[in-house]
């Protein structure tokens, strides 16, 4: 909980920097706060906080996911200087809201009680509704904000209704009491209905098809760095909450929801990948690719074992790194060309080779080409799911086969033309290049020695 408090205080400090019209410092405050929080996240939890254990517990898994999302958020903050350089006046709000959202994420990592789950989801989402609309003058950004808010509010309704039904049948909010209840009563109708409603709400948050309808519009409309934040940090938090709820709380009624999950996965993988193929805008393509990755992630529910959490964390980390790698390239192109169609990337490798290589390696990682972290992530999840449902793994394989085509399109546009379409070259900042090199290095290092992940995050 100390991490949570540090991040919260950082967010308040970043916000107040804006109040005193020192918005340019917000980013540095945020970076400093995240680094401190990252250090603290390795320390054991203070004894004092154990009295809140029934609501929030900073256990091993919570620590692991907290560390991952802190690293990813830190990278995003580093990119902020370049990405938000035309947002002169309102920078502090952006950083503060991202930090608040991160607080919600951390709450989700340690939730022990459905009330904390609900609070976490709301703290995570409400700043995002604002962030999505932070490009006030852009119509698409406004649309994204409204759409996200309305749909999100609806999903919250589902979540609350589900929680109510669960409480009604099991007479408890506590995750482990619910777990025991589900083990003892695998056929309780009211409980099952509640579980399915919670599942729908959380599937909405992680954008598992067919509850993904909001995500392409929201991801495309939001400012690109915010999109990267939503695709990475937010997805890590939401998916872990989803995973924890389903695999602990509703484990006993596994037979009731596992088939629904299978169908959702099949829909997600085909729909998202085929739609991704049909896009002509790189940002929207990445939005669909992000949806499709939830499809692969959800395979984690099949053949659950002790390593599932580790596999999940690895995949989420690999995917988030790759997302940042592609998005930083996209931010650069968007800034120069004011659009993100495939053609805008034409010949990027000639003028900005570092960014182009970063984006290419990131996309190859997303597609699951060996020697990248994405391959190891996919491998772990497939190897687990194949023991239970080989059929779904084949579906996932076909999904990746479709997905490679749209990743390739973007890589080809960047590398194959003989000359660059970038006439005015605005050079990126040094921080930007350092982040790019770090992302490439991390993706390849994790692809060759996946054990580094366990070692770095203290497993």
């Amino acid at each position: 909980m100390s991490v949570l408090i540090i991040i919260f205080l950082t967010a308040v400090a970043a916000l107040f920097a804006g109040v005193f019209e020192q918005g340019k410092f917000s980013r540095y405050i945020g970076i400093a706060g995240i680094i401190i929080a990252f250090y603290v996240s390795f320390l054991p939890e203070l004894e004092f906080f154990s009295q809140y254990k029934s609501m929030f517990e900073y256990g091993l898994n919570a620590a692991l996911f907290t560390k991952i999302s802190l690293v990813i958020t830190l990278l995003i903050f580093f990119l902020g200087g370049f990405a938000f350089s035309n947002h002169r006046s309102h920078q502090s709000e952006l950083y503060a809201l991202m930090l608040f959202s991160l607080c919600g994420g951390i709450v989700l990592f340690g939730f022990q009680n459905l009330v904390t789950l609900f609070l976490g989801i709301e703290i995570l989402s409400i700043p995002l509704y604002v962030l999505a609309g932070s490009n006030k003058s852009d119509l698409r950004s406004n649309e994204a904000s409204i759409k996200y808010f309305l749909m999100g509010a609806f999903a919250t309704g589902f979540l609350l209704f589900g929680i109510a039904l669960i409480y009604g049948s099991s007479s408890s909010f506590d995750l482990y009491k619910i777990h025991e209840f589900s083990m003892a009563n695998p056929k309780n109708i009211m409980f099952t209905m509640g579980a399915v409603l919670v599942m729908v709400a959380l599937a909405f948050k992680v954008s598992l098809a067919p509850f993904h309808m909001w995500s392409p519009d929201v991801y495309q409309g939001s400012p690109s760095l915010i999109t990267a934040f939503m695709m990475s940090t937010v997805k890590i938090s939401a998916f872990y909450a989803f995973f924890k709820m389903m695999s602990i709380g509703f484990l006993g009624i596994n037979a009731e929801w596992i088939n629904i999950m299978g169908v959702l996965i099949i829909i997600t993988l085909f729909l998202a990948n085929v739609m991704g193929l049909a896009q002509s805008n790189a940002k929207r393509m990445l939005a669909y690719s992000s949806v499709s990755h939830v499809g692969y992630l959800a395979l984690i529910f099949f053949g659950l074992n002790n390593l599932s959490v580790y596999n999940l964390a690895f995949y989420l980390f690999a995917y988030s790194l790759a997302t940042i790698g592609v998005m930083m390239c996209l931010i650069y192109v968007e800034k120069l060309k004011r659009e993100t169609s495939y053609n805008a990337f034409k010949g990027l490798a000639q003028s900005e080779p570092i960014l182009a290589v970063t984006a290419a390696i990131s996309m190859l990682s997303m597609a699951g080409i060996p020697l990248t972290a994405g391959f190891m992530g996919k491998f772990g999840i497939f190897a687990q799911a194949i023991t239970d449902t080989p059929f779904l793994v084949i579906v996932a394989i076909l999904g990746s086969a479709i997905s490679i085509a749209y990743y390739l399109r973007l890589i080809m546009v960047m590398f194959f033309p003989k000359e660059s379409s970038f006439k005015t070259t605005e050079k990126v900042t040094l921080t930007y290049n350092i982040v790019a090199v770090f992302v490439v290095f991390a993706i390849i290092a994790l692809g060759i020695f996946p054990d580094l992940f366990a070692r770095q995050f203290g497993l």
Partner: protein, 497 residues
């Protein structure tokens, strides 16, 4: 731990990093130097190589380290006779391929040579990996550099289309292989080669896994009906790309078939699956040859001839495998396929280079528009002829030994199949002599011929080196047979267990 093997593995990787970093036209000499060092190291390895040990015992050159905590897999590389043959092929051809690009105008950028070295790294990994996951990883790693080579330097108006088709096709195949390997892994002790051989799979499971893994190889080889990517890719890639693809890369699949498929899933070979593969392979033989006869595009002609020759190798391997499963241990198919692997690698690289030389002289790939070059380029005519004869499998050339053993092994299995597959010898002389006749003999365009020159020094060096191999291996094929004998015996006996 063998430092020699480690050097062989890492030198191309380090070399490619250096070449990528050094943005200078002279970096091509660095690449060539590294490739030559690599070749000498391979010959050095051959000089005191012990042919006897097989992969289940202690190999002479081996690297073995634990790799991942949660997956039962090792960083396990090793060289037995069969690996060494493929290493020799890779490391002899790579310097020649690099050298062959030197008279290109304008010259290639440093990235081109970096990618070739990266490709070499992947290939060496594939041929030495003794761990299923490692094999898959290197298998996939080879795809990226060749795709970039084909895409960046390929024929301008076609490259988006054919590179996408090539990449997606082979990637889908590899993914199926991955699923197959994971499935075998979940039923065995670890990813180690020998553990995968001993995996506990029922006959039905073996059949499914067989087709999943075979799919990857069938695409890469390619075998009918998975060959539709091949002709475009070979035709529109830059010459060096076509050489890498056909000379070395498709040999990965022959190697994979022997080492990674047959011993892991032996039972379907005896059933209908094995027969289907033989039939598909023989269809490739005839289909490829017939289409090659009517081709007018020189590179496309070579692509189809490659389809035909590869089909024969697969048919030979499968014929021997089926006989072995029936109870009589036969390794002739494997021997023939490996001899032919080496020979075909040399010949097809030579043919693609000849096509490139012709293209430089006539500025077209259409053989109907060529003619009469033999008069002005006698040296080229002779060298071209020798390589051609090697491809046709004339006695005393390298192609003859391989094809002869292959047809013998198919004959042992079925006389009818051998008769049909044997037509390749007739057909190949038809299309290759037609190629030679149209391009070198007859009456050519005098204006073009007046400006055409004989071979340059670079061209002469590359072609004559290849010709040396064509003749020497045609007269003394025994070293190759000795090299692979014990590896093949091990592979075919493990099928029976």
């Amino acid at each position: 731990m063998s430092y020699l093997l480690l050097t062989l593995l890492l030198l191309p990787l380090v070399g490619s990093a250096l070449v990528f970093a050094w943005k200078n036209p002279a970096s091509k000499f660095l690449a060539l130097g590294i490739a030559f060092v690599q070749m000498f190291l391979t010959f050095y390895m051959l000089s005191d190589f012990d042919f006897k040990p097989t992969v289940d015992s202690v190999l002479q050159h081996e690297i073995n380290y634990p790799w991942m905590r949660f997956i039962n897999t090792q960083l396990h590389f090793g060289v037995d006779g069969m690996s060494l043959l493929l290493l020799l092929l890779t490391n002899i051809l790579t310097p020649l391929i690099i050298l062959s690009s030197f008279n290109e105008k304008p010259g290639y950028r440093n990235t081109f040579y970096g990618l070739i070295l990266l490709m070499q790294f992947g290939l060496i990994g594939v041929f030495t990996a003794l761990d299923g996951l490692l094999f898959y990883i290197f298998w996939e790693v080879t795809l990226i550099p060749i795709w970039l080579i084909a895409g960046i330097w390929g024929q301008e108006n076609k490259k988006i289309q054919f590179t996408t088709r090539f990449f997606v096709y082979t990637f889908v195949g590899s993914l199926f292989m991955l699923v197959g390997l994971i499935y075998v892994y979940t039923n065995s002790a670890s990813f180690a080669l020998t553990d995968l051989y001993n995996a506990d799979l029922s006959a039905t499971q073996q059949t499914v896994v067989f087709w999943f893994i075979f799919f990857a190889f069938a695409v890469k080889l390619p075998v009918f009906p998975f060959h539709s990517w091949q002709s475009d890719t070979y035709t529109y890639s830059p010459t060096q790309g076509s050489m890498l693809l056909s000379g070395i890369m498709l040999k990965m699949a022959i190697y994979g078939l022997l080492r990674w498929l047959l011993p892991i899933t032996p039972s379907p070979i005896l059933g209908v699956s094995g027969q289907i593969v033989v039939v598909l392979a023989i269809i490739s033989v005839v289909h490829g040859a017939l289409i090659a006869i009517i081709q007018n595009d020189s590179k496309r002609l070579i692509a189809y001839s490659s389809l035909s020759h590869v089909g024969l190798m697969v048919a030979g391997i499968m014929a021997s495998a089926i006989l072995t499963m029936k109870g009589t241990l036969t390794i002739t198919g494997g021997e023939g396929a490996l001899v032919q692997t080496f020979a075909h690698g040399i010949n097809v690289v030579g043919l693609f280079y000849c096509a490139d030389i012709l293209f430089k002289r006539f500025k077209t790939r259409d053989i109907r528009k060529m003619g009469g070059l033999a008069k002005v380029a006698p040296k080229f005519a002779v060298l071209f002829m020798v390589i051609l004869l090697g491809s046709i499998a004339l006695p005393l050339t390298n192609g003859f030994i391989g094809e002869f053993i292959l047809i013998k092994s198919i004959f042992d299995y079925s006389i009818l199949a051998a008769v049909i597959a044997g037509t390749t010898m007739i057909f190949s002389s038809v299309y290759l002599f037609r190629f030679f006749g149209k391009s070198m003999l007859g009456k050519g365009d005098d204006a073009v011929l007046a400006s055409a020159s004989d071979l340059s020094a670079v061209e002469f060096t590359v072609l004559s080196s290849l010709v040396v191999f064509v003749i020497v291996l045609g007269i003394f094929p025994q070293p190759i047979l000795d090299l692979v004998n014990s590896s093949l015996k091990f592979i075919f006996t493990s099928m029976l267990n």
